[in-house]
């Protein structure tokens, strides 16, 4: 079974400050990890993913995420937050060893990011 935990329901950060949105995962094998962002009444937008290789992954809109296998974490980061980054952020996982038939992405509960001007 695969699962994702986002320990913070809400993160508040001042504009211009660095932001971190936390994510930990649980899989039986190795993970494929994803971050999505959701604006109000909109679909989920893909930000970045980790498959293999470099533990630091860079994505859209200046976001990056660091994969840490020992801590089973995949925290989303941005060096300088913008007010327009305020949205709901979802971490998602897919188990590498779930087999060819596993297409399911399992999402965390989401973290609401508020960037304060």
């Amino acid at each position: 079974a695969q699962s994702v935990a986002q320990p913070e329901d809400q993160v508040n950060v001042a504009e211009g400050n660095p932001l971190t949105v936390k994510c930990t995962y649980s899989v039986s094998g190795n993970p494929y990890l994803f971050w999505y962002v959701q604006y109000p009444n909109r679909g989920l937008q893909f930000l970045l993913k980790y498959i293999t290789g470099d533990n630091l992954v860079k994505g859209s809109y200046g976001f990056e995420a660091e994969f840490n296998k020992s801590q089973t974490s995949f925290h989303l980061k941005k060096p300088s937050a913008l007010v327009s980054d305020s949205a709901l952020y979802f971490c998602a996982v897919r188990d590498v060893y779930s087999g060819a038939g596993s297409y399911q992405l399992t999402f965390g509960k989401g973290t609401k990011l508020s960037v304060i001007p």
């Binding site: 494929y32 994803f34 679909g43 893909f46 038939g101 297409y103 992405l105 399992t106 509960k109």
Partner: protein, 114 residues
């Protein structure tokens, strides 16, 4: 760039009625996924199709069925609707499926059952 198109965007149905949601994937994408997102909830995987065949199944109720057609569009059919079916239904598509493939989501259909 073309995105995933879902129709209708909003749908209001009464209990015990049926509903059909449609999804048009990004051109050349061969995999379609359906997710249900309740108010304040994370998206829950319902079902997916790869090359017109069901590829994976999640928490889809027996009252729901789905298929992917020859032109790769997909339809989610929901019967005997219940109040608890009120949710945002997302379709997503990808080129190839599973593994490290990211899915691209549509804007969703908001279903309200009254």
């Amino acid at each position: 760039a073309a995105g995933v198109i879902q129709s209708p965007r909003h749908l209001i149905k009464e209990k015990r009625e049926t509903a059909t949601l449609k999804c048009y994937p990004i051109p050349r994408h061969d995999t379609v996924y359906w997710y249900q997102q309740g108010p304040g909830q994370d998206p829950q995987f319902l079902i997916s199709f790869y090359e017109k065949m069901q590829s994976d199944k999640g928490s889809i109720p027996d009252r729901f069925s789905a298929q992917q057609f020859s032109d790769y569009h997909s339809e989610l059919n929901m019967s005997s609707l219940e109040l608890g079916d009120s949710a945002l239904y997302f379709c997503a598509s990808s080129l190839g499926g599973g593994g490290g493939t990211e899915a691209f989501f549509g804007q969703g259909t908001r279903l309200t059952v009254v």
